[in-house]
């Protein structure tokens, strides 16, 4: 049952996307030039494409579900706690990177992700995380000149 709700929601998401792109067309210039088509033409085309595939998908999801779809996760219990840990890691990194610097925030991501996958050795993961980030930081920063934020903030 929940699968059906998901499938309907996905279809509606695609249809909503078509709506957003369709509404955006009105702000575009209509000057067609030599080609006879303006900057609006391809957006309209893609909007229609989105709407058509979205509608077909909705029809499939309402009439027996997606076709040629074998649900290989049907008997697996989804590990929501793990997902929350991994998500928290990424979001914390995004939140903290400007404050606690690159190495520490990446280490937070490492520890949270490892925890989400069931690792219990917090300190060991922290050490691996830092040991992994330092050389990468050096490699990207020095060798490849990708600019990264300061290693630590001044107060660290």
């Amino acid at each position: 049952m929940t699968t059906k709700i998901w499938q309907v929601s996905i279809s509606c998401f695609i249809l909503a996307l078509a709506l957003v792109f369709g509404l955006g067309v009105s702000g575009l210039p209509t000057d067609a030039g030599y080609a006879g088509i303006s900057s609006r033409f391809v957006p309209i085309l893609i909007t229609v494409f989105l709407a058509v595939v979205g509608a077909l998908l909705l029809w499939q999801s309402l009439t027996g579900g997606f076709r040629h779809f074998f649900d290989d996760t049907a008997n697996v219990r989804a590990d929501l706690r793990g997902v929350i840990w991994v998500s928290a890691g990424i979001l914390l990194m995004a939140l903290l990177i400007s404050y606690i610097g690159f190495v520490l925030s990446a280490a937070v991501l490492f520890v949270c992700t490892a925890r989400g996958f069931g690792s219990r050795a917090l300190l060991r993961d922290l050490a691996i995380g830092v040991a992994l980030v330092l050389p990468v930081y050096w490699l990207f920063g020095q060798v490849l000149a990708v600019s990264l934020p300061k290693l630590f903030n001044q107060w660290l």
Binding site: A35, I46, F66, D79, I97, V111, F117, V146
Partner: protein, 504 residues
Amino acid sequence: MTETFGLLLSGFATALQPINLMWAFIGCALGTAIGVLPGIGPALTVAMLLPVTAKIDPASALIMFCGVYYGAMFGGSTTSILMNTPGESASIMTALEGNCMARNGRAGSALATAAIGSFVAGTLATILLTFVAPFVADFGLKFGPAEFFALMVLAFVTVSSVLGASMLRGMVSLALGLALGLVGQDKIEGVARYTAGVPELVDGIEFVLVAVGLFAVGEALYSVLYDSKTAPPTQNKLSSMQMTRDDWKRSWPAWLRGTAIGFPFGSMPAGGAEIPTFLSYSTERKLSQSKADFSSAGGKGAIEGVAGPEAANNACATGALVPLLTLGIPTSATAAILIGAFQNYNLQPGPLLFQTSGDLVWGLIASLYVGNVMLLVLNLPMAGIWAKLLNLPKAQLYAGILVFASIGVYGMRQSALDLLFMYMIGVIGVIMRRFDFPVAPVIIGMILGPMSEVHLRRALSISQGDWSAFLTQPIAATLLILSALVLFVPMFLRRRGIRLGEDD
């Protein structure tokens, strides 16, 4: 012919420079590693490495990227033979016989025939590429905007209908990619579209962000959601990497047939290596003298069933470089990201590339010969070392992948907001994986979409808005008719019991 030899020799002069040898080696080693590791593929790796294009010169960067690309094909066989969990869809067929051989104590021979077969096929395919590519590029010079547009339509149709189980879901993915590609400046008039007033969006959505979000974050979240509790599959013991006389006798013809099947499939915009590997496997099973060895007949694993598909898989990967270099048409997600790499250097893959950047192209082709030798050396004596990668605990492996992914994304423009976008796209990636939407069409649509709009509008400018131009010009019309026919391919394949997966 002699001209080609001269160009190839000058290419070797580029490829054999110590610095380029080093990049080729890094690419091959990295490619093998990610091929062995589950959960991380060449498309993601090349996307994460794209920032290096800011620093190192084009030849070196592209040599490295290509090393990653076909190194992953070599490495993928190790996982499927030792673990029976194919690293990518291209090695599903290898897993069938290879794992059966490994369970019967012949893992070493299976790995050897896979590595040597990959080398033979890779080298033969590179020779084919060397001589076919200039012809195709010459032919491509006749192409105008109408032909290129038709070619891109063909690419869109093939990647979305042939990849994945359902054509409709492939089309949904493609539509999503095309829509993402719309954001940003229109390439003809410079009108900002769908930017919602955000200045960062005028340059378009970074496809690195999308690729990393879909492949790295999506894969990690999916894995923690559904796979984290399953025990790792048992690993077969590695035996000595020796092939008996009989093994050689059975492998040779399989390698050659595999190459012959794989290369043309790779060079057509048909996407993916599953069809050629499947065809190669069924050919070997049909032609084999010792049918009782095949796992389906309850045997101990037939070596030709490993040799053929592995050769086909590598020849296919090299073949994919033909449309990529000569026409600028990507046939896989990795190839699409390689186009992005070219674009970062303001280079446009296509027929003109052979004239404007001949050094680069021939250097790249020459490096494929070099890379194949490197990969043989890396894989044959050192298979044991690569196999150890399979012991990496999942928790730390995925944590490492996510750390690298966020470094790559954050390094682009130091925006914490980009990390949030990466996460959101990752969530979409999980949903797509869960409901079996192919991911490659998103990337291909995003990169090829804006290019096809340029060609469409140029073609119509030339014909003064006359749409019949697409049907009166023979090449364009043929390509469009082909595109219409491709729509029936999945139906045909399904009837023959071939279920298609995705190749990343």
